[in-house]
Symmetry: C2
Subunit: 341 residues, 2 copies
């Protein structure tokens, strides 16, 4: 095993070429005050000697880590994956590394992760927080470390948010169903609290209100986004009287399960009951009928959040001016809701 044959430093290079370390440093950083010729000599011997700059010595001087920290409340999810992909793309393009911490649904871990990133001195933070207070992020804002929240729009001390317009999403889906002639529209959601789900629900009833349709409390059905709970919810929906003529589900999996249960009970989708999902998961294209759904711009949100952060870090200080960036989602109309034309 070839072991660490000792790291090469700029001193080694300087000695070898009979130059000073600072000359070497400048040359390696493309300082224009170094003659082309020496610069070339230096870069070449550096490469030859297997030199790599010491990231930490550099950071120690420059007080910057070229690293952005990403805290997600659930890494293993269909939303988080494209978000990370979007962030990574923009970050690496801007010369930043992305360090990821997963809170795995635990608030305690989220607090820990914030602390850990603070210690690590990331240059900026993007967080997809779970529910609850955001106070554990205060050290960042206090120290001027820029902070962007994703998918959560609470205003929080000097921070910025990137969200999809969930109210608009809910409205779009519901209006579409109304246009298709539906009147008794169920909203199936994991919860209608103070978060994206609540906003989708708000969009739902705003759409009903606009069309002068009374919102019935019994048409709001709460169910965890698991297969079992969704099945139970579907049965609950069929037990309502009169039977609803549409379901707007807050995620595609729940919508798919509902459709299956409806079909097994002999109902036709969309003729007897129309269904709209949320999230544009791959399953929506594979099932029959294909699923009408909201295309949630997760990757674009990640990309945007990273760009805002990096622009700010590079001194194009958007972050102080923009408070919330709302990304446009779109309705993807497929078979499960099309009752006309």
């Amino acid at each position: 095993m070839m072991e660490n044959s000792k790291e090469v430093t700029i001193y080694d290079i300087a000695q070898r070429l009979d130059l000073s370390p600072s000359t070497v440093s400048k040359a390696l950083n493309d300082d224009p005050t170094i003659s082309k010729k020496t610069r070339k000599r230096i870069t070449e011997t550096a490469a030859g000697m297997g030199y790599r700059s010491n990231f930490f010595a550099k950071n120690l001087r420059q007080q910057s880590t070229l690293t952005i920290g990403v805290i997600v409340h659930e890494l293993n999810s269909g939303f988080t994956t494209p978000v990370l992909s979007g962030i990574e793309g923009a970050a690496s393009e801007g010369g930043y590394g992305m360090i990821v911490a997963d809170s795995a649904g635990s608030r305690e871990k989220e607090v820990d992760n914030a602390r850990s990133f603070f210690q690590r001195r990331v240059d900026g933070v993007i967080a997809v927080p779970g529910a609850g207070s955001l106070e554990h992020f205060r050290p960042f804002t206090d120290r001027g470390v820029p902070l962007v929240f994703l998918d959560r729009a609470d205003s929080f001390a000097g921070s910025t948010s990137v969200v999809a317009d969930n109210v608009a999403c809910g409205m779009m889906a519901t209006l579409h169903l109304i246009e298709q002639g539906c009147r008794r529209i169920v909203h199936l959601t994991p919860g209608a609290g103070d978060n994206v789900y609540g906003q989708r629900y708000e969009g739902y009833w705003k759409a009903l209100a606009r069309k002068k349709i009374a919102a019935e409390k019994s048409l709001l059905i709460i169910a965890e986004p698991t297969e079992e709970a969704s099945e139970a919810a579907a049965r609950k929906i069929l037990a309502l009287t009169p039977v609803p003529d549409a379901v707007f589900a807050a995620n595609d999996m729940a919508a798919a399960v509902c459709i299956r249960v409806f079909q097994e009970r002999g109902l036709r989708v969309p003729q007897d009951i129309a269904v709209v999902g949320f999230g544009n998961e791959i399953i929506g294209k594979l099932m029959r009928p294909t699923l009408t759904t909201i295309n949630y711009p997760a990757k674009e949100m990640g990309d945007t959040a990273a760009r805002i952060l990096i622009n700010h870090l590079q001194g194009n200080g958007e972050i102080d001016k923009v408070t919330t960036t709302s990304m446009r989602a779109e309705l993807v109309v497929r078979q499960s809701s099309l009752r006309k034309g």
Copy 2:
């Protein structure tokens, strides 16, 4: 905006308490030679002053970054997500951060990412490489930076691999179909080269050989894992004469598309044609018939890779002894293949 009100250093703490910086340093690192009383005084004022240790000064001294680099060839994928989740869990448990770089299918980016991590001096690397040479990882092995490959078993200079036993997977799936009475079994795969797909194919024909069934070349169908290509492949399968009585697809999406096409053509699954997928994606539980598939232990693989790496970094040098860790995958039998009992 509260701006950087100047970072607190151990010197500030020392001055405030009329102690020396080294005492403060030791106290903060729980050095037992510092009396309990002073230690307490120090930790308390440190907290009070909002001190955070300077990660970089620390690293500069200790020549370690407490960071492991993860290079994936495709971040936005159903395999990578649980892998990252597994790595993150083990890493954070061991006190390490995880920095992620996505090669997004580009070899060039993969090479860049390797270089970038080398510069950043990650303590260790986990790579899920694409196809092709692994030479760009040589700097790590040369410098004694431990390196673990995931889902790819090439032996490479002093590195270690964590894989699922893909040959066994292919064999398991195929034997199961044979036991169900199938004889003309198609293997549908994105390619049977020198990678996991090739190994699954190897398992397929080994199973056939063991059962004395002739492997026909026409039963190997190559198709990209997209919806369109899978549909075309399904039609191709139905055009074979005699029509096959089973399909073993190398991913669940392709299997789902096949089943849909078969059903649309009036075939019954599994009675007329049985189908086994690969990957245990969520869709397999939602569709009808439910999909028999291989449960690929992605998260466990990530977890294992990270543990091996971290054990090594902490001096429990497994990495030199273990060359390849093969994780057990399992067959999940559901409706799409069950023709007996």
